[in-house]
């Protein structure tokens, strides 16, 4: 896999699978990477160097920035940790009863939100790190996305819940995924109109939050991340979705190793990048949308590969041509 001029591979990669990549707020320089090797690393992607690294006692499944100097992370050890890059110190903020699958920060309500396999979502005040609430979900939380002051939670058994972060007393909307297979990832449109949901069966749904029937009828789903070879169609999980903040277009990454960029409103694919060495585990656009971080990391979808491709993060400078709606 040769690097194209607009793309390079970060050095100093984790020793095991990459679970999540996240860009810092207002920065295309700093990238947070959590890994199955128990570590969370902060990279300077401009200098291609690793700046910080801290560890959990077990694999880390997700991480996020709170502000430029603080990160939160959680994983199999069930602990939510906050790390201060200034003082290079970490502290355990709290715990779940089961591994933490998702960690998100909501700038609108200034809360860090964790979703866990213990079927709860917990809210944390990042200023004096402490728990401020717990929302029970119908099943294990698999994915979560903050959408303004709404929170969209995707759980096992294809359930989708929309919570209002300002009023957590009840679930705003209870939905069932429109896709027939396990929900893999949910990310909301930066314009807050809706969200995109992907499943393990090479399919992506574009959904709208407004319950108005006129709006609802705009929703649709499409197939992707499928490869036909030798008279057989291989259908891959769509593991990652990342939105371009400016254009409301989004990238999807599948276990087929491909990254596609879509214009969800016009139902068009804008581009497809080359095939990456192995499954795309996570994707992140920089806040300005000029850089896409692509984590290519085997995810045990199949029996262990003979020689699994190395876990790697590609930093790709994307152009308007690749990310801007054509019309």
């Amino acid at each position: 896999m040769s690097d194209s001029p607009n793309e390079f591979k970060l050095s100093n990669m984790p020793n095991d699978g990459i679970s999540s990549v996240k860009f810092g707020p207002n920065s295309k320089q700093f990238l947070l990477v959590s890994s199955w090797d128990d570590s969370v690393r902060l990279y300077d992607v401009v200098a291609d160097s690793m700046r910080f690294k801290y560890t959990h006692s077990a694999p880390v499944l997700d991480c996020c920035f709170y502000d430029a100097v603080h990160s939160f992370s959680g994983g199999i050890d069930k602990q939510l940790k906050m790390y201060d890059f200034n003082s290079s110190s970490d502290q355990v903020v709290g715990t779940h009863d089961a591994p933490i699958r998702c960690v998100e920060y909501s700038p609108d309500v200034n809360l860090v939100i964790t979703g866990s396999w213990d079927s709860t979502v917990k809210l944390w005040d990042p200023r004096n790190p402490s728990a401020v609430g717990s929302l029970s979900q119908p099943d294990k939380v698999y994915t979560m996305s903050v959408c303004g002051d709404s929170l969209i939670v995707g759980t096992a058994m294809r359930r989708v819940l929309v919570w209002d972060l300002r009023n957590m007393g009840y679930v705003q909307q209870r939905r069932e995924s429109n896709l027939k297979y396990q929900t893999r990832c949910i990310r909301s449109f930066p314009n807050k109109q809706g969200y995109v949901l992907s499943s393990i069966e090479g399919r992506v749904a574009v959904e709208y939050l407004d319950p108005n029937p006129d709006i609802q009828k705009k929703k649709y789903a499409f197939k992707c991340h499928r490869i036909k070879e030798n008279g057989e169609e291989c259908i891959y999980p769509v593991n990652a979705i990342a939105f371009h903040n400016g254009y409301n277009t989004f990238a999807t990454g599948g276990s087929d190793g491909y990254v596609n960029i879509w214009d969800g409103f016009n139902k068009k694919r804008l581009c497809q990048f080359h095939r990456y060495p192995t499954s795309i585990a996570s994707l992140a656009f920089s806040p300005d949308g000029s850089v896409l971080a692509i984590a290519s990391s085997f995810m045990y979808e199949t029996e262990v590969e003979k020689v699994p491709a190395p876990d790697s993060v590609f930093i790709r400078n994307v152009t308007d041509q690749e990310t801007k709606p054509k019309s």
Binding site: W36, D118, K140, N178, I200, K228, E232, D256, E301
Partner: protein, 466 residues
């Protein structure tokens, strides 16, 4: 006779009354003129097909067939070439033609009216490919016609109900989505109404199990909606029959019900506590393969249960949490052995030894014990690490483990297997292993065994039916 032959009707288009020399040209005309989607210009095969296409693909409802004469714009009547035209209209058209002919020929009305129409109509229907093979076609039993095109059948399809449930990328093959769309409707009260109609019209379908809601909704697709076009009539019936068994039509049940009809029968090969993912259906005609483990739990959960991460967790648990004392660890499991003994029956025998070894071991040993359990699984022909792992994160179990979510999760699969699939002889040993394992760990969690078993009770129940 020769006179009648001369009067044999030319194919004509019901929608615009235009006559054609050849039915092929007529069909081309209909596709281009009446069945073309105004949004994407896709040419569909029938009016209802077009309506469904617009609804499913563009979320738009069309209430009349484009370029049709007033009164001939019904999108619910399924017409393909000369096929499907309501009998009255056939007769009326016939009459018009014959009247003209009669005028020209100066012949008596009575003669023309009584004889030619039926004789002309009959060959027309029989002459069409597949017409006889489609008792479902509305005009076949003339008496039936008035009730057939009525709302109840086509209505729901146009109502958009199927859409939210069956998001289809596009109308790959026309009959597919249509049947799919009808599917979910079946059980919802339609089944009852449709049943009789269906059976009357297509007696062959009777055996498609009116008992089974899943099967039921399928055959009704073709039966109720009528084949979209003659050529597809037989094949669509065939596919629906074949597919009916394995593809759950209810979205809600989809992820719970495992498929056993798929080519590979992948679900049956692994022992698992988690629901199995059903096989994807292929629209392309190629066999499709879902690149995902069979268990319907997330890749992360499966991965977290790999031995290598379990070991990590063990170490961290030892380091971070208070140790459970050994004697406690020993006591409960033996007693707890009671309930599973009944449930698991003979497997307990093989489960015994590991339980004993497992029992005395302390926290540190637990990791080992678990690995042993897996090792023991080995000999069982069907035991795969994947299967073991699959079990853990059953939704019901998660809440149980206050301190060791994962390890705790690991126990259940064994138990599950033992309970859920008592019938499978060869799997006995691995399950026993799993059980032993489960018990070895149990005390660590300090959780009531019994409760856990109960929780699991309902889980494995449905399995054997899959």
């Amino acid at each position: 006779m020769g006179r009648k032959k001369k009067k044999q009707m030319k194919p004509w288009c019901w929608y615009c009354n235009r006559e054609f020399d050849d039915e092929k040209i007529l069909i081309q005309h209909q596709k281009a003129k009446h069945f073309k989607c105004h949004i994407c210009y896709k040419k569909l095969y029938t009016g209802p097909g077009l309506a469904i296409h617009c609804m499913q693909v563009h979320k738009e409802k069309i209430d009349k067939v484009p370029n049709s004469l007033p009164g001939r714009c019904n999108t619910e009547i399924e017409i393909y070439g000369m096929e499907g035209i309501p009998e009255e209209d056939v007769k009326a058209h016939e009459k018009n033609k014959s009247k003209k002919a009669a005028d020209i020929a100066n012949e008596g009305d009575s003669d023309d009216n009584s004889n030619p129409p039926p004789s002309a109509a009959a060959p027309m229907m029989n002459g069409m490919p597949g017409a006889t093979a489609q008792p479902g076609m509305p005009f076949a039993p003339p008496g039936m016609r008035p009730m057939v095109p009525g709302g109840p059948m086509m209505g729901p399809m146009g109502a958009g109900v199927p859409n939210p449930m069956m998001p289809q990328g596009g109308m790959g093959t026309v009959p597919g989505p249509m049947m799919g769309g009808m599917g979910p409707m079946g059980p919802m009260g339609m089944a009852g109404n449709m049943g009789p109609v269906n059976q009357q019209m297509r007696p062959g379908m009777g055996n498609m199990g009116p008992m089974n809601p899943m099967n039921m909704s399928r055959p009704q697709g073709p039966g109720a909606s009528r084949p979209l076009f003659p050529a597809a009539a037989q094949s669509s019936t065939a596919t629906s029959t074949a597919a009916g068994g394995g593809r759950p039509t209810f979205p809600a049940a989809a992820s719970v019900v495992s498929s056993n009809s798929g080519a590979g029968g992948g679900g049956s090969a692994t022992i698992t506590g988690a629901p199995t993912i059903k096989k994807p259906e292929s629209t392309s005609g190629l066999t499709s393969k879902l690149v995902h483990p069979d268990e319907d739990i997330s890749l992360e959960e499966l991965r977290a249960n790999l031995p290598k991460y379990q070991r990590n967790l063990m170490e961290s648990m030892i380091a971070s949490s208070g140790m459970v004392n050994t004697s406690m660890a020993q006591g409960p499991p033996m007693q707890a052995g009671g309930p599973p003994m009944q449930a698991g029956g003979p497997h307990m025998q093989s489960g015994g030894p590991p339980m004993q070894t497992g029992g005395p071991m302390n926290m540190g040993g637990m990791g080992m014990n678990m690995n042993m359990g897996m090792g023991m699984g080995g000999p069982g022909p069907n035991m795969m690490p994947g299967g073991m792992m699959g079990g853990p994160p059953r939704p019901g179990m998660m809440p149980g483990g206050p301190m060791m979510g994962n390890n705790m999760m690991r126990g259940p699969p064994g138990n599950m297997g033992g309970m859920g699939m008592p019938g499978h002889g060869p799997r006995g040993p691995p399950m026993g292993g799993g059980m032993g394992m489960g018990m070895g760990m149990r005390p660590m969690n300090g959780m009531p065994f019994q409760g856990n078993m109960n929780m699991r009770g309902p889980g494995p129940g449905p399995r054997p039916f899959n």
